[in-house]
């Protein structure tokens, strides 16, 4: 006999968030490329609609947090009514844990055409080093 499953009266929320945000709009995970060169770790994140002043990047120990606030369509579009909708305007948020030690004084961030380029230089101790053999 099948076991009867009882549901509690209180519905559990579909998404549990540790904090609530205002205003209520979607938060997206930006598609991101990460690649590593000899000297740098480069993070490239797609955040269309985010202006440079809406961007917030923090690095705490090895945790890199990227937040982008969507500025929305330009004001010139007032008076328009949306007839078809395929994507929603929302904010972006993503957290990475980096595996290397980063030289935090030389981090470079550029935002161009809705794409964030973040160059994180490896600290000297994390770089590969050639070990010279001592002549015996």
């Amino acid at each position: 006999m099948a076991q009867q499953v009882r549901t509690t009266d209180q519905p559990t929320p579909a998404r549990m968030e540790t904090r609530e945000r205002t205003p209520d709009r979607p938060v997206f995970v930006p598609p991101t490329d990460i690649y590593e060169t000899r000297d740098n770790i480069v993070v490239v994140a797609e955040m269309p609609g985010v202006a440079p002043d809406g961007l917030d990047i923090t690095l705490e120990r090895r945790v890199l947090t990227i937040r982008g606030r969507n500025a929305g369509p330009s004001n010139e579009h007032t008076g328009y009514q949306r007839v078809y909708n395929e994507y929603a305007d929302g904010d972006y948020e993503r957290v990475f844990t980096l595996s290397e030690n980063i030289d935090r004084d030389r981090i470079e961030a550029t935002l161009k055409d809705g794409v964030l380029h973040l160059v994180l230089p490896k600290s000297e101790t994390a770089k590969p080093r050639k070990i010279e053999l001592k002549a015996s």
Binding site: P31, T32, D33, I34, Y35, E36, T37, I41, V42, V44, E46, M47, P48, G49, V50, A51, A71, P73, S74, E76, H77, V83, Y87, L111, D113, G114, V115
Partner: protein
């Protein structure tokens, strides 16, 4: 009309208008140094894209305005004057 095109510049996009169909074509090339690096994560896509949108009315091709705004392409299209609905006056008998 707006389209999310992060990383695409003005020169990479072609817009074509034929009566009431707007075709948006373009490409996105990876940066050169990315090819040489050691990938840890690869989520963005590269290559060419194309999209044709049929609009509800014919467009005046001289009045189309398109601009990029932080990776979002905005295209403003105006209805053709000849295509606008016309009010017909009823003559008095």
């Amino acid at each position: 009309m707006t389209a999310e095109l992060p990383g695409v510049t003005r020169d990479d996009v072609t817009l074509n208008l034929q009566d009431d169909v707007l075709t948006l074509e373009g490409k996105r090339e990876p940066r050169h140094e990315q090819e040489e690096g050691n990938w840890q994560r690869r989520e963005r896509s590269y290559g060419s894209f194309s999209r044709a949108v049929q609009l509800p009315f014919r467009i005046d091709p001289d009045k189309v305005q398109a601009r990029f705004n932080n990776g979002v392409l905005e295209i403003e299209l105006e209805r053709l004057e000849a295509d606008r609905p016309k009010k017909i006056e009823i003559r008095a008998p």
